[in-house]
Amino acid sequence: MANKSLVKTPIPELQPEIRVTNFSEVALGYTPEQAKEEADRCLGCKKPPCVAGCPVGVQIPEFIAKIQEDDIEGAAEILKSKNLLPAICGRVCPQETQCEALCIRTKKGESVGVGRLERFVADATLDAAPPPRPAANGYKVAVVGSGPSGLTCAGELAGRGYAVTIFEALHKAGGVLVYGIPEFRLPKAIVARELQSLENLGVEIKTNSIVGRTFTVDELFAQGFAAVFIGSGAGLPSFLGIPGEAYNGVYSANEYLTRINLMKAYEKDARTPVQRAKRVCVIGGGNVAMDAARCARRIGAEVTIVYRRTEKELPARLEEIHHAKEEGVVFKLLTNPLRIEADDKGWVKSLHCQAMKLGEPDASGRARPIPIEGSEFDVETECVVMAIGNSPNPLISQTTEGLEVNRHGCLVLADEESMLTTRQGVYAGGDAVTGAATVILAMGAGKTAAQSIDQYIRADRV
C-alpha cells in the first residue's frame, strides 16, 4: 500500500538543548516501522531517475522494495553490492543534491528519504556474518590513505582476490571519517565496524606509515606491489592570509577538529588539549565550518559563523545549517574578516570585519561579495577557526618521479575515465585529485580506480 504523504517520515533526533551538552549522535535512525512507512513512499519507478544521481550506482528502488517486503538482508545485499560503506554514506552523503534531488516525488512534496533508508538497512545488518574471503589471485596492491576513496578501492580489490595493504599516516585508520567528521554526525564505532569488515575481507591496514616520508611510491613497487592507488585526500589547510593568523587561539578547522575528534579533546581527562574559549568565530560556510561550529558549541562556547555571502550561498548541506541553528550557532552573514587582533600576550581578542553586499556572479557562478566602504567593525572573540578549504598534501607528489600536479596541487589524471595518473601503475582519486569534495564522490573514484587497476593487472598477466 503506497504511502501518499508529501513529506518524509521524520527521523527521531536528540533535542537541541540536550545534544549541545554531549557528542552523542544527533539523528537516531528509523525504527523498522518508520523505515517501512518511508519505504512505502517509493513508487518503484521503472526507469528510476534517482540512480543516475548516485556516484556509485546503488540500485535504489530495488533495495527499497526489499524493505517494503520486510526482507532487510535482501535489501542489504543489493545495497552493499554497490556501496561498501553504507552505514557511513547513509549518514554523511549529501543525498538532497544527488539521488533524492532526482526523485520523482519531488515534483510534488519531498523526495523519498533514500539516505535514511540506506542508514537503516546498514545499521540493521551491521552484525551480519561477513561474506567469505575470495580466493587470492597472487597480486599485491598498495592503497595510500584510509579515507573514503582508499577504503572503497581497497574493498573492491580485496573482493576480487587482491592482497591489499592500506598505508595510513596517522595512528588511526579512517582518514577524514575519524579526524574530521565529528562523533555526533558519524559515530566512530560505525567507522570501526566498516573497517573491521574490510579487514575480514583480508585488507591489511598499516598505520603510522607516511608515503612520501616512511616509504616512497617507488619503494612500494620495489616491495612487489603491482599497482598503487593514491587516496591521500586534501589535507593541507588554507588560511585567509590576513594579519594575526598566527596568534594563540587561531586554528585551522583541521587542527580544531583533529584535536576534538581524533584526539578526543572534548573528554574531561583527555591528554590532548583544545582551547576552551568562551566565544568562537568560525570563518567559512561549508560542512566543515558547520562541524567546527557544532563541536565548539558542545565544548561550551558561544559560536558565530562568519561568512561573506548570504545564507542562500552557504555551501553546507541544509540539514547541517538547520542543526547548527537549532543548537544556537549564530550566523553573521555578508561579513568578511580583515584582521585578527590580540592582547599583549598574543591571545586573540577580536576579529576585525567588514560588511559586504552581493554583486554580479563571479567565475564560480555565485554572486561576488563586494566590500561596503566605511562599514568596518569588531567582533569580540577568544578563538577563530578557519574553515575555508583544504588543498592536497604535496608529500607524495614531491617524492614521486613522473607524478604531475596542477596549480592547485591536485594530482593530474592522464586518463579521467580510468583514474590513471601521469605515472604508469599509479591511480588516484578522491580529494587528492578533485580538491576538497564529498565522501561519496571519493568513494565513486575509489571504486572506478579499483576496476581500472584490476584491468591493468589482468592485461599484464596475459
Binding site: Y251, T258, M263, R271, P273, N393, L395
Partner: protein, 281 residues
C-alpha cells in the same frame, strides 16, 4: 607497538631512549624528527632524532621531562612498548659542502645539535662547538661533542662547569677573534636561538635555527606549527624544521609554545601529585 631497546637518564630531567622502528631508522637523516604517542590515550608529540642505527633498526631520541607526556614516557623502560612512532618527518638539514661551521647547542637542544656536529665532522667540515647549560648537573653529551669538534667551548650560567657565561658570549668572542663560518647552526631554547640570531645578524654571519613548535600530525595537515618567517606563514613540519635564523619571528613562536601551558600544568599535577615545578621552562 614499538619496543624500547635502551633507556638512560643523561641528567635528572633529560632521558635518552632508543626505540625499535626499522622503517623509520632506514630513512632517518640529521635534522629530521619523529612523532610518538607513549600509550593509547597519549598526545602526539614531536621529537627530533638524535641517532638512527640502520643495522639494528633503532632510532634514538633525547628529551627533557617538561610535561605530562614526557613524564609518562620517561617512566617506561627498556623492553616496554610505546604505542605509536612515525617518521622520519621534516626536511633534513642541508649541510653538504660546508667547510667551517659553528654549532651552538643549548640545554637539551644539544641532543639535536650533536648529530649535526657529528655528520659535519664525518664529512670533513671544521667544527667549532659552543654548548651551554644552566649548571654542571645539567651537562649532557660533553664528551661526544668534544670528539667531533675542532674547538669546544663549554658554557654555564653559574660557572659551575666550563666558563661562566652565555653561548652568545663565546660566539661573539670567536667572531671578534676573526673566525668566519659558512654557517652558524643554533639549536636550543627559542630565547637562545633568538639571541644567537640577533648577534650573528650584527656581524652578517649566516645562521640556521631548528624550530620546535606544537604540532599534531607532522605532515602539514593541522597547521598548528605555523611560524612567521620573513613575514610569511610557514609550517615547521613540512617547510622546516630548519630556517634562516635571521628571518624567524621568535617572539610569536614563544607565545604560541605557551598556548597549552595551563592544561599541561593541570595534567602534570595529577600525575605527580605535586606542583608543576618542572613545567614552564
Amino acid at each position: 607497538m614499538f619496543q624500547i631497546t635502551a633507556k638512560a637518564f643523561l641528567n635528572p630531567t633529560v632521558v635518552k631512549m632508543s626505540v625499535h622502528a626499522p622503517e623509520v631508522a632506514a630513512k632517518a637523516q640529521p635534522g629530521q624528527f619523529i612523532i610518538l604517542r607513549a600509550d593509547a590515550d597519549g598526545e602526539r608529540i614531536p621529537l627530533t632524532m638524535a641517532e638512527a642505527d640502520r643495522a639494528k633498526g633503532d632510532v634514538t631520541v633525547i628529551f627533557q621531562i617538561v610535561g605530562a607526556e614526557t613524564t609518562i614516557l620517561s617512566r617506561k623502560n627498556a623492553g616496554d612498548f610505546i604505542e605509536d612512532f612515525v617518521g622520519p618527518l621534516g626536511i633534513p638539514s642541508h649541510i653538504e659542502g660546508l667547510k667551517k661551521v659553528c654549532v651552538i647547542g643549548g640545554g637539551v637542544g644539544c641532543a639535536i645539535a650533536y648529530p649535526v656536529a657529528k655528520k659535519l665532522h664525518e664529512q670533513g667540515t671544521i667544527v667549532h662547538s659552543v654548548i651551554g647549560f644552566r649548571n654542571r648537573e645539567l651537562v649532557i653529551l660533553e664528551d661526544e661533542f668534544r670528539a667531533v669538534s675542532d674547538l669546544l667551548r663549554l658554557m654555564s650560567d653559574d660557572g659551575s662547569v666550563g666558563e661562566k657565561g652565555l653561548v652568545t658570549n663565546a660566539l661573539e668572542e670567536l667572531i671578534l677573534a676573526g673566525e668566519k663560518y659558512d654557517e652558524v647552526i643554533a639549536i636550543g631554547p627559542v630565547i637562545m636561538m633568538k639571541f644567537v640570531s640577533a648577534l650573528t645578524k650584527k656581524y652578517n654571519q649566516k645562521t640556521v635555527v631548528s624550530m620546535n613548535p606544537i604540532m599534531i600530525d607532522g605532515t602539514g595537515m593541522c597547521g598548528g606549527c605555523r611560524l612567521l618567517v620573513d613575514g610569511a606563514v610557514k609550517f615547521a613540519c613540512v617547510d622546516g624544521p630548519d630556517f634562516d635564523g635571521h628571518l624567524v619571528d621568535y617572539d610569536l613562536l614563544m607565545k604560541r609554545n605557551s598556548m597549552y601551558r595551563e592544561h599541561e600544568q593541570a595534567h602534570l599535577c595529577r600525575l605527580t601529585g605535586e606542583g608543576a615545578a618542572v613545567v614552564g621552562k
